[in-house]
């Protein structure tokens, strides 16, 4: 079948891309410095001989291409090696953080998308009305607010002053969520999601709303919308079925990009809310030059972006008959 063939071909094309990206990141990373030096910097009692021993232990003294090939061999076998800190396998670290980050990100991205649809449609229909201006203002407000500031303001209001929502972590805050005394793990996770997700939704909403508004304005001027009206289709159906289907393509692109980039996408939010996620781990790993962890997360992001691109292309072909998958 055409579609299966297309998908298989696209996945095969990804292999050289993944390898290329891994080579570039690997060499750039080695140019950044010596992880052993950084790790032992604060400890004056460590001798140069001990450092040399550590470098040998982690194989850091071999020529870089040799190290790369060794890494690649492990990578192909699904093994990212051991973290330089704590000695835990990178696979295990990523595995536990991956879910937390995707949970937060998917929740925010999808909710932003769902909110943007009525908001974008409505502000296009009532162009230049008070509602249109309000929707635009709120979404521009969200986009221009620095995440670290807005996040902290939310924490101050809802956690510190009102004591309604937990301020940190993804679940099981030390003093259990005090308001309703709920111990249900699902509600507990949801409560932890609300504040960081609000920040992310606000930050992303404007893109969705503005794109959809522009698309709708364009589509609503078309004669086929007028023809639909003339044949007696209800206004609601015209907007949400006929016009939306034609106006939503840019939004699908944006959604694909966001989902591809979501893994590394929100380190600041994760820091502010002490979210046990990959974004935060990534930044920490880079500052400590934890080579195996950096490579591991980089590869996960790469693969996510490539897969999201593929899904976006498939969604395009599904929604727009003019797009042929070749």
């Amino acid at each position: 079948m055409g579609l299966a063939k297309y998908v298989v071909r696209r996945i095969i094309y990804m292999i050289p891309l993944v390898i290329g990206i891994s080579i570039v990141s690997f060499f750039v990373m080695y140019a950044a410095g010596d992880p052993i030096q950084i790790a032992t910097m604060g400890n004056p009692s460590i001798t140069e001989a001990q450092r040399q021993f550590l470098r040998n232990y982690y194989g850091l003294n071999d020529p870089i291409p040799v190290q790369y090939l060794r890494w690649l061999d492990h990578f192909i076998h699904g093994d990212f090696g051991m973290s330089l800190y704590g000695g835990k396998p990178v696979n295990q670290i990523i595995g536990s953080l991956f879910w937390e980050t995707s949970k937060l990100q998917l929740f925010s991205i999808i909710l932003a998308f769902i909110i943007a649809i009525p908001a974008g449609v409505y502000s296009a229909v009532k162009q230049r009305s008070v509602t249109d201006y309000s929707v635009t203002s709120v979404s521009i407000f969200g986009i221009s607010m620095p995440v670290f500031w807005f996040g902290i303001v939310l924490i101050l209001i809802f956690s510190y002053h009102l004591g309604l929502l937990p301020s940190a972590g993804a679940h099981g805050a030390p003093s259990l969520w005090p308001v309703f005394g709920i111990r249900d793990p699902f509600l507990d996770e949801l409560a932890h999601l609300i504040l960081p997700a609000t920040v992310l939704i606000f930050a992303g909403l404007a893109w969705h709303v503005r794109l959809l508004r522009a698309g709708m304005l364009e589509v609503l001027r078309q004669d086929y919308i007028m023809a639909a009206r003339a044949s007696g289709i209800s206004e609601r159906k015209i907007l949400y079925k006929y016009a939306l289907k034609n106006a939503i393509t840019p939004l699908i692109t944006l959604l694909g990009l966001e989902i591809g980039l979501m893994i590394g996408g929100a380190p600041v939010t994760e820091f502010v809310f002490s979210w046990p996620g990959l974004g935060r781990a990534y930044v920490t790993a880079v500052s400590k030059l934890d080579f195996p962890l950096i490579m591991g997360i980089t590869m996960i992001i790469t693969i996510m972006v490539l897969i999201a691109n593929l899904i976006t292309d498939l969604a395009y072909a599904w929604i727009d008959p003019k797009v042929r998958l070749e």
Binding site: D223, M226, R229, A230, S231, I233, K245, D320
Partner: protein
């Protein structure tokens, strides 16, 4: 016999705004359609001609309530259409929607690019439920055949068709509801000359076979002459002359009509053309000229024309004209 469609004193003003810092103010009105009256009989094609921007398309949209009329009355089959669209029950509205359809000027913009031809043509069945679902396929094929397309076209998307084919699809969609009245808004002006004749023939064919009435809007006089039984000439939101087709082309009275007719190219290189050139531009519809709207461009204009609005008088059987000096031109 009562006419199928009767339009009385139809008016449409579009407000123009000045954009201040806080609020917008209405500074004027575009007099798109300014008090026109006419009627269309059962299974008759009436042509509506005029320059770009004279209000032809707006008239069409007003009749279908795609724009809301500022004033006036529209009687369709004796029923008050505006009243029904504004306050009528859902059934009444749907019935009216079923009776009137529109074919748009640009076939590239009037078909939803995300729908197959089958979906486009069967859409009216879905809305009006006048065809049982198991007959949809048959009906769509029949409609395609009626407009000169093939059944296998049904599974295709609009972008796979040429302009002429698209216009046929638009016509098929319009007649899918079995309307009694179709507004054809410049249906051939964006098509190649070779395709035009086919589409015009199709329109006339449907008039004979299905008894559909048309309001044929165009700026192309030769196509109007070919297909309509009566012609109305519009200038700056008003109808200046209306007459049966042959009468209008052979004995036009209004200087504007005469200028228009003189500008129609004649496919004979030896014949000398006497084009009546109109001085100046079409005035702004925001501040239309006083008196007769045509007076700034009319070489016969007198002081009476500047001050007084001419009335629409019947000068011959079914021949109406709005000019102070009609007696001199007749």
């Amino acid at each position: 016999m009562a006419p199928l469609l009767e339009v009385k004193d139809l008016v449409k003003y579009f407000p123009t705004y000045s954009r201040g810092i806080f609020r917008k103010k209405i500074v004027g009105n575009v007099h798109a359609v300014d008090g026109i009256s006419f009627s269309v009989n059962e299974s008759e094609i009436v042509g509506l001609v005029g320059e770009s921007g004279c209000g032809k398309t707006t008239t069409g949209k007003l009749i279908l309530y795609l724009e809301r009329p500022t004033k006036g009355e529209i009687l369709f089959d004796g029923k008050n259409a505006i009243e029904i669209f504004e306050n009528g029950s859902k059934e009444e509205k749907m019935e009216l929607r079923r009776s009137m359809q529109m074919v748009f000027q640009n076939p590239y913009a009037s078909l939803d690019p995300r729908m197959t031809v089958f979906d486009i043509i069967s859409e009216p069945f879905k809305i009006h439920k006048h065809v049982p679902r198991n007959e949809w396929k048959e009906r769509v094929y029949k409609l395609l055949e009626l407009v000169g397309l093939e059944p296998y076209h049904a599974e295709r998307y609009p972008h796979e068709f040429s302009g002429g084919q698209r216009q046929r699809i638009c016509i098929a969609r319009a007649i899918a509801v079995e309307p009694r009245f179709i507004i054809a808004d410049e249906p051939v002006s964006s098509l190649d000359v070779s395709i035009r004749a086919q589409i015009l023939k199709l329109i006339m064919d449907l008039q004979h076979r299905l008894g559909v009435s048309y309001l044929y809007i165009s700026h192309d006089l030769s196509s109007v002459r070919q297909i309509s039984q009566r012609v109305m000439v519009m200038y700056l939101g008003e109808i200046v002359e209306a007459a049966p087709t042959d009468e209008l082309f052979d004995h036009s009275i209004h200087p504007y009509t005469r200028a228009l007719i003189s500008a129609v190219p004649i496919p004979d290189p030896k014949r000398k053309m006497n084009i009546i050139l109109l001085p100046g531009e079409v005035p702004s519809a925001i501040n239309p000229p006083s008196g007769c709207r045509f007076h700034p461009r009319c070489r016969y204009a007198t002081s009476e024309c500047k001050e007084e609005k001419p009335s629409f008088v019947e000068v011959d059987k079914d021949h109406y004209v709005s000019c102070h000096h009609y007696a001199e031109f007749a």
